[in-house]
């Protein structure tokens, strides 16, 4: 066993030694004050746990703080960045208010983006429909009934041209939530920028592209892991050299959490994915300090307020210390964990939907107190459908109220030093390291995915939670307590017309494009795909510029790499 294999357990051991106090103050308070009080008032004291199965005491004291608290916290903008990655945080610049949007046709989505920009949104975020997410065109047999339903439909560069009509790609930053075909959509975005004469050096944005979490949680893949990982490597090397403001991956815990994990599982599995990508970049011959600064993250903010804040603080500290200690990163930028946050869709209820505004507010506050760089707030009607204009505006206004009325953005890391929050941050860190150690002993994250271990861990947590809800041990207001008769609300419906319009546009493209050029570009792309040392992105850009379609491109990979069947989970 070499030294790096020992890293997690060694760190874990030293973390466990950081608290040597015996909690005398708590113990005597409990004996002399709390217990007699409970006895006289006949209070039943139930055990309290958070989603991560961490048992919570009634109160925390200074004896719960680490002996090394000063070094473990640092100051804002100083190592290990527990308190925030920038010295001025929101006093310098508020988080980016980035509302995930996309539905129906590219025209519908272009209108929604402009609507959000006009109401003060500061970054774009595109949602694609299910066929697009699986690399299928709108005219695929499987796409029938799904076009434009869960996001915007994109089959060719033409669709992207319409989505971004009248939007300056040199001025906005765009996040695209797409994974399996991320490299194709990136090629389209770059091709569009070039057509609009925006140099790639100025193109700012993020593509999710995190395929590991697809196998773990969201289940949107096309090929076996190795094929997708090669495409991420190609984006990594291409963007490092040519598009330095483009985040070619957003390592995501959001979906892991929505699939049913606990907060600490989200933290651990996401960061384990992140370390894998670091290993991959190093293996591709890149200096860690050249590419690590462009890795970005994406977390969930769920309803247990302090647990979420502790998770985000722990995430920053873990990333910085591991990058420095294990990977030898020297540049400060490499150590900074920049992340986007979205409030939790799972916590929203179908019942009494207006209550969801309150849930989203609590979750958004946790994200801000956790130091997020950008934020999406869910709309109250999202347990029903994609959000209506009015619902999405309330969600954006929620962020604006937090930012400009509440005072939450006035002081950096205002919960820093809280006995409870610091203790919980330490707990999240230790439990995450237990998972890193276990995953390493299983032979790394790819093995942990292929054996179904991570998926089973998540399914087990989700089932346990469901049982607690069924028994009423956990409460969802309006769903399993304070239940009322329900009345349907008015929701956004995607009409069949979206599919018809998309089919027509694709037919027109196929009729008018230069077929010989398409064939040539696809042939060159096929050869590149067969050569693992070639970088695919330039070939993809050529193909999309010739209006080769998404599915024509992904089909080449389907022939070369085949598909992937997941292990049995239940």
């Amino acid at each position: 066993m070499d030294q790096s294999e020992n890293y997690w357990s060694q760190r874990l051991e030293s973390m466990r030694l950081r608290r040597d106090k015996i909690n005398s103050r708590y113990n005597s308070w409990k004996k002399d004050t709390l217990n007699p009080w409970n006895k006289s008032s006949r209070n039943i004291t139930e055990e309290r746990r958070n989603s991560s199965d961490i048992i919570l005491r009634e109160v925390y004291t200074e004896e719960d703080l680490s002996n090394n608290i000063d070094q473990e916290l640092g100051m804002p903008g100083t190592y290990p960045f527990t308190r925030g990655i920038y010295p001025n945080m929101y006093r310098g610049k508020l988080w980016t208010m980035r509302m995930f949007s996309g539905f129906g046709t590219p025209e519908d989505t272009n209108r929604r983006l402009k609507y959000l920009i006009s109401h003060g949104e500061t970054g774009l975020s595109i949602a694609f429909d299910m066929p697009t997410l699986y690399g299928l065109d709108c005219d695929s047999k499987r796409s029938d009934g799904e076009v434009g339903k869960c996001g915007v439909s994109v089959s060719s560069l033409k669709d992207m041209e319409v989505i971004f009509r009248g939007i300056d790609l040199g001025k906005v930053s765009t996040s695209m939530t797409i994974n399996a075909p991320a490299i194709v959509l990136t090629a389209m975005y770059f091709a569009l920028a070039q057509k609009k004469h925006v140099p790639l050096e100025n193109v700012a944005g993020t593509v999710q592209a995190d395929i590991l979490k697809e196998y773990i949680a969201q289940k949107e893949w096309i090929y076996p892991p190795e094929a997708h990982l090669r495409m991420i490597r190609d984006m990594m090397t291409f963007c490092t050299k040519n598009a330095p403001k483009y985040n070619y991956i957003s390592i995501s815990g959001y979906h892991i959490r929505e699939a049913g994990s606990s907060a600490v599982q989200e933290l651990a599995f996401t960061l384990a994915d992140g370390f894998y990508y670091i290993d991959m970049g190093i293996e591709a011959g890149l200096d860690v300090d050249r590419f690590a600064p462009r890795l970005s993250f994406f977390f969930n903010s769920s309803i247990n307020f302090f647990e979420e804040i502790a998770k985000m603080r722990a995430a920053r500290r873990i990333w910085a210390t591991v990058l420095k200690e294990k990977y030898g990163a020297k540049k400060e930028r490499s150590l900074l964990m920049r992340f986007h946050t979205q409030t939790s869709g799972y916590t929203l209820t179908w019942q009494q939907p207006m209550n969801n505004i309150v849930r989203t507010t609590i979750e958004a506050m946790a994200a801000v107190l956790g130091g997020t760089q950008s934020l999406h707030t869910n709309s109250y009607d999202e347990a029903w459908a994609l959000p209506s204009d009015n619902a999405v505006k309330v969600a954006l206004r929620t962020q604006q109220i937090i930012a400009e009325e509440s005072g939450l953005a006035d002081v950096i890391d205002p919960l820093g030093g809280s006995y409870y929050v610091e203790w919980l941050t330490d707990q999240m860190e230790e439990k995450a390291f237990e998972y890193f150690d276990r995953i390493e002993r299983m032979g790394g994250i790819l093995n942990a995915i292929k054996s179904g271990y991570l998926q089973k861990e998540i399914a087990a947590t989700s089932y346990k939670r469901q049982i607690r809800l069924e028994k009423g041990e956990e409460v969802m207001v309006g769903a399993n307590k304070y239940v009322e008769d329900e009345h349907p609300i008015s929701i956004l419906r995607i009409s069949r017309k979206a599919q018809d319009m998309q089919l027509k546009r694709l037919r027109d493209i196929k009729r008018t494009r230069d077929t010989a050029k398409v064939t040539r570009s696809l042939d060159r792309l096929r050869k590149a795909m067969e050569d693992p040392d070639e970088n695919l992105l330039p070939f993809m850009i050529d193909a999309v510029k010739a209006y080769a379609t998404l599915e024509e491109i992904t089909n080449i990979g389907r022939e070369i790499y085949g598909g992937w069947k997941e292990p049995v989970i239940v």
């Binding site: 339903k149 699939a259 049913g260 799972y346 399914a459 349907p488 239940v570």
Partner: protein, 150 residues
């Protein structure tokens, strides 16, 4: 449901359910919860895996001789995709397998699905016990047809 009567129906073979998401939709959290819950309720459970086509769903249901197909979609395509499953069943003249549905299905769509013979159509927050009871009831109807009891 009369316990004695249903016991005799399922005496030789417990209720058999096929869980399937027939559209392009990987949101499988609910599927796994239901699979475990149906098993806890004594049922035989099959999961169709990711992205089965409507044809694959019907083929599996017939080959495995299930009592109930339990469909789920979170992607808003239920009116098109659930219908394809129901149409295929009708085309093949299969009457001894019941279809139930669930997912993010707006209230307005429930009568339409019911007319296709797809019942339940429960949304988020539905107690598992409600779903289990409904599947049992539909399984009973299907099993009676299998046994030629009506």
């Amino acid at each position: 449901m009369v316990a004695g009567k249903s016991q005799s129906l399922f005496k030789d073979r417990p209720i058999k359910v096929l869980l399937a998401k027939p559209g392009i939709d990987g949101h499988d959290r609910g599927m796994f919860v239901l699979a475990k819950s149906f098993r806890d309720a004594g049922m035989d459970v099959l999961y169709a895996g990711l992205l089965p086509t409507p044809e694959e769903v019907v083929d599996t249901a017939v080959n495995e001789d299930v009592d109930v197909i339990a469909l789920s979609l979170m992607n808003g395509a239920h009116l098109t995709v659930f219908k394809k499953v129901a149409d295929l069943m009708k085309k093949r003249g299969i009457t001894d397998i019941a279809i139930v549905g669930g997912g993010t299905i707006p209230d307005q769509d429930r009568p339409k699905l019911a007319r296709m013979g797809i019942t339940g159509n429960y949304g988020p927050g539905t107690p598992i016990s409600t779903i289990v009871e409904h599947v049992k009831r539909r399984a009973e109807e299907a099993r009676k047809r299998k046994l030629g009891l009506n």
